[in-house]
């Protein structure tokens, strides 16, 4: 089996001392920001992108991936201990996890969350390893028309899974696409929308956009109402779950993992939706649904497994097709491009060490997280006490340095302020920033493939419909769009997301 030789190559790459170190740094940073309020994985990865340019491509991607799943772990810690999810995907964990903590079983809840996450992470890593290679084979057969159709499908499904109004999310995607085309036209060399500023000729800075939209805008929103958080004073209790607890968590963990793995591949907030779906499912299947909301173990184990599995499998579309499933994956695309790697099916064949190294590092990272989180939980709890008004000046300093160090361009700093303002206004107008970032990343690719497909099809737009794969993908796109715009589905969506807020 190729799988084993591939995986051993991966583990050999990921287990080199320096890659282990960067993986460790990544998961520690990830846990840190997952625990700290007001700064998410997206903003942190955006801020740290410039620093990782100095590293080898493998090391930098391993570290960034570590931040991502580390944040999922850290987010559940705050969800359980202070009923405030550090990441949106742990919002569900807060429901029953916090109740368990109030009953003096915080330790159990944390252990169940960590074990569930670890199990899900392990299974999902294997799934990535098994399914990624055959998908790259299919992806290699894709032409311009197929890529265009696939990206369209990706963007539309991302909207379907986003919060809030569909129309607004669509408009945000289009706005992102438009911002993405700013810069020099690749075919003719004509500058577009640069308003005479030569600094914008290479396009708007991706790092500035991400930091502005996800970092600065979020700080502004948090400054509206400065509040102090109350941390549960109660003791953690035993970290080791009892036999009864273990028994109660096995089935939800298995179901959560399966659900999460499937949702993670879908574009959009896969991990978030997976944890909600898992919670709903566990409540339906439970013999004691009345326990949910009052500290049910299944209500922690299921969603935690689901969101971690989802976080992991969202790497599949990135590694095989080069198409990001969520904002963090969009940042990974940015990181790969800056490192000179074109994300897509060729990565697996051209750079096997990189491809398999990242996959292997996911498992190693998950192992580190469980070792890091359970014994060191006391340290993380102390960090929860850092007040927000101390944090945001530090975040702003790091943002400024990070953005400036990309290419020592002061215009990028002005762009951060501009995007921060735009992001804040859009947040106030209840427009989610995630679709905009996805659009921004995919904008140039979408345009290039559209133009190439039209040239190959001799200017006949039916080229998208006569090729079977492209036609299928476009049909799926239309179906998704019609389904989400149906009033009855809209109502259901609204219900799911109100629960989450």
């Amino acid at each position: 089996m190729d799988l084993f030789s591939n995986l051993s190559l991966g583990f050999a790459t990921a287990a080199s001392p320096e890659n282990l170190l960067f993986c460790l740094i990544g998961v520690i940073l990830g846990t840190l920001i997952g625990v700290l309020p007001g700064i998410g994985a997206t903003a942190t990865i955006a801020m740290l992108l410039p620093i990782t340019f100095q590293l080898e491509p493998v090391s930098s991607l391993i570290m960034l991936a570590g931040i991502y799943y580390g944040a999922q772990y850290g987010g559940s810690t705050t969800a359980i201990l202070i009923n405030m999810p550090g990441e949106s995907s742990s919002a569900v964990t807060a429901i029953d996890g916090y109740q368990l903590a109030r009953q003096g079983k915080a330790g159990t809840a944390l252990a169940v969350a960590a074990l569930g996450s670890f199990f899900a992470g392990t299974v999902a890593t294997v799934l990535v390893a098994v399914f990624a290679p055959p998908l790259t084979v299919i992806a290699l057969k894709f032409g311009a028309a197929e890529y265009f159709a696939l990206m369209l499908l990706g963007l539309v499904s991302a909207i379907a899974l986003a919060h809030g109004s569909i129309l607004k999310a669509l408009a945000m995607v289009v706005l992102g696409l438009l911002l993405g085309v700013v810069g020099t036209d690749i075919y003719t060399g004509t500058p577009r929308f640069t308003f005479g500023i030569t600094a914008f000729a290479d396009g708007l800075s991706f790092v500035a956009l991400a930091v502005g939209l996800f970092g600065v805008a979020e700080i502004l929103r948090n400054l509206e109402g400065e509040q102090d958080r109350t941390i549960l004073g109660a003791k953690l209790g035993s970290l080791f779950p009892s036999k009864a607890d273990l028994k109660a968590m096995v089935a939800p963990m298995l179901r959560g993992t399966a659900l999460g793995s499937a949702f993670g591949i879908l574009p959009g907030g896969g991990a978030v939706l997976a944890s909600f779906a898992s919670y709903t499912m566990e409540k339906r299947l439970s013999a004691h649904p009345e326990e949910f909301g009052k500290g049910a173990i299944a209500g922690v184990a299921g969603p935690e497994s689901a969101n971690n599995a989802g976080a992991q499998t969202s790497f599949i579309p990135l590694l095989t097709l080069g198409i990001p499933a969520n904002p963090v994956m969009a940042l990974m695309v940015g990181a790969m491009i800056i490192q000179g790697i074109v994300p897509g099916p060729n990565v697996a064949t051209d750079q096997p060490a990189l491809f398999w190294g990242i996959i292997a590092s996911m498992w190693i990272g998950n192992l580190m997280l469980i070792v890091l989180n359970l014994p060191l939980i006391g340290v993380w709890v102390k960090l929860l006490k850092v007040p927000y008004h101390v944090l945001f000046p530090i975040i702003m300093a790091f943002c400024s340095i990070g953005v400036y160090s990309v290419n020592s361009n002061v215009y990028d700093l002005y762009a951060v302020a501009g995007f921060g303002l735009l992001g804040y206004i859009l947040l106030k107008l209840r427009c989610e920033p995630a679709p905009l970032l996805l659009g921004f990343v995919l904008g140039p690719l979408l345009e290039e493939n559209l133009r190439r497909a039209m040239i190959l099809g001799r200017g006949d737009p039916t080229v998208f419909l006569t090729r079977p794969i492209s036609a299928t993908l476009l049909a799926l796109t239309v179906i998704v769009l019609v389904v989400v715009l149906m009033p009855s589905v809209g109502k259901k969506r609204a219900e799911v997301f109100t629960e989450s807020d």
Binding site: Q54, S165, L167, K168, L170, A171, V174, L175, L177, L178, V181, D185, Y187, T188, T190, R192, F193, V216, I219, L220, R221, L223, E224, G225, E226, P387, Y388, H389, V390, F392, P393, I394, M396, A397, F398, C399, S400, I401, V403, S405, V410, D412, L413, Y414, A417, G420, L421, Y424, L426, K428, L429, R430, C431, L450, R451, M454, I455, G459, D460, P461
Partner: protein, 154 residues
Amino acid sequence: MGSINRADLAAGLVFVIIGAVFGLTSLGLDMGSTLRMGPGYFPMLLSVLLVLLGGAICFNSFRQMHIAVEPYAWRGMVFILGAPVFFGLTVRGLGFVPSIFLTTLLAAFAGLKLRPLQAALLAVAVTLFCTLVFSIALGLPFRRFGPWLSVVGV
């Protein structure tokens, strides 16, 4: 009925305006043909789409419940947005060390909870940390003290 969702109305208008600006600018670019699309073709398509979507959002806003918009963080906007701009304006002239100190201090004033002395201490700590990590350990090519200071004679 009869009420207006102002947030949606404003959002729709923002999209229409941005779409219109991009659309009008695209007019100055070569459209090309469907066979060989020029630099203006794709942006024009998107601009029209954005204006239409913005219009639809505006239209829908007249049939929805009114949702109150929370107050804006004006103080935060001034200091938080000012911080990276200030860093951009001064990092070359003042140099990295004084610039990051003042940037952190500026950002700290966005909140009301930190007293001036605490803010200054925080800024000193951040400056020390950043200088050690970014300038010395990572070796990023920043000038630590810039030309403006040598003119003054420090």
